[in-house]
Amino acid sequence: MHRYPRWPIHLALLTVSFFMLVPFYWVLKTSLTGENIFGYPPSLWPKDPHLFFYVDVWYFIPFARYFLNSVIVSVLAVLANLVFNALAGYALTKDFRGKGTVLLLFLSCMMIPFQATIIPAYLITGQLGLLNSYVGLALPLFSTIVCIFVFKASFEAVPRSLIDAAKIDGLAEWQIVLRIMLPLSKSAVATNVILAFIWSWNNFLWPLIITRDADLQTLPLGLARFLSYHEDTTGALYAFCVLVLMPGILLFLLAQKQFIQGLTSGATKG
């Protein structure tokens, strides 16, 4: 087997990683020092770092309330994503009349930005009486087409014989999804969890539109509010950004193996 030298690839990856990680490092460094980000020459290493800007964030705004709201909304979105996307993904593994049209419709809907459908989404949410509520905040993210396709690809990799055996044993379709498909599609589940969590966690426009109570605001709205109150406190602002980013990064680090498997599971099928 011909062996290529690996150092050029590693060098390229290190270079790309460096440029991608520098902004994160800069945010972290500024959150620890509060230094002027426009200062010249910029200092690479933090001078007199401390964590007191994080304490400022905790007390300047109701951070715990925003955090709890974001957690509730994200958990709702994740649970709904798992249920609806798994069912839709399983349905799309079946052969039925109009399946091609449905797939085409799904793919075309992926190209429509959320901003274009936000008015009908608002009206529907209003008709359901869910404005200014946790369920209403999570509603547009209850199902996402990308995640449906992730489940579809993963379910299609499950041997047909297993499903037939389950049917012979008398399992209903929902039991097949619950007891056969999902346990064998852990990477797809992890991908769904991470994507739904991050999309919900970072969502700004929809919560901005449908929340009226300050007590229902999520962290991205809190960040905007914080910026309007304390625009001269660079360190605290960046500390807020780090605190908002932390849960998503933690979740990704916990489930990165399954996440990568889930995204690539459909790519290597024969």
Partner: protein
């Protein structure tokens, strides 16, 4: 190879009923002792411990000493506490030093205060005091030094 050794059976094993109850302990161990439970659990435990510590040390006490430039304690000096109010500091309270130059502030509500001492003849510099939580009990490690020229 027995039926239980097949890879697909290994995947499905936790879901199947086990009449003898064998392996239930390992199932629970596997469900609980994994990083998805341990990491959030550790965070929750750390949060609880921290909140316990805070509740035991948030009496709002600030203790310190006031001295003159030569290091002698100053009795009767007035110590002023300013608390952070959005982007400025406003006066919150005052305390007076005893014969040994020691003062005790008992009602600090903030996590970021400034403190200085003054007498009719002089004033100390403002000391910026950042605390880890609101009302953290604190003892100043350096005394407030009155300077006749300051203020």
């Amino acid at each position: 190879m027995s039926a239980d050794d097949r890879p697909e059976a290994a995947h499905a094993r936790p879901r199947l009923k086990n009449p003898a109850g064998e392996g239930e302990g390992s199932l629970w161990r596997r469900l609980l002792l994994n990083r998805f439970v341990l990491v959030p659990g550790a965070i929750v435990v750390a949060g609880l411990v921290w909140n316990g510590y805070v509740s035991l040390h948030n009496g709002g006490l600030i203790e310190g000493r006031v001295t003159d430039a030569s290091g002698r304690p100053v009795a009767g000096a007035e110590v002023v506490v300013l608390v952070q109010n959005v982007t400025t500091f406003s006066e919150k309270g005052r305390a007076r030093t005893g014969p040994d130059g020691v003062f005790l502030i008992t009602d600090n509500p903030s996590h970021h205060v400034q403190i200085f001492a003054e007498t009719p003849s002089g004033r100390s510099e403002r000391r910026d005091l950042r605390l880890w939580f609101r009302g953290q009990n604190t003892v100043l490690d350096q005394p407030l030094v009155l300077s006749p020229a300051a203020g």
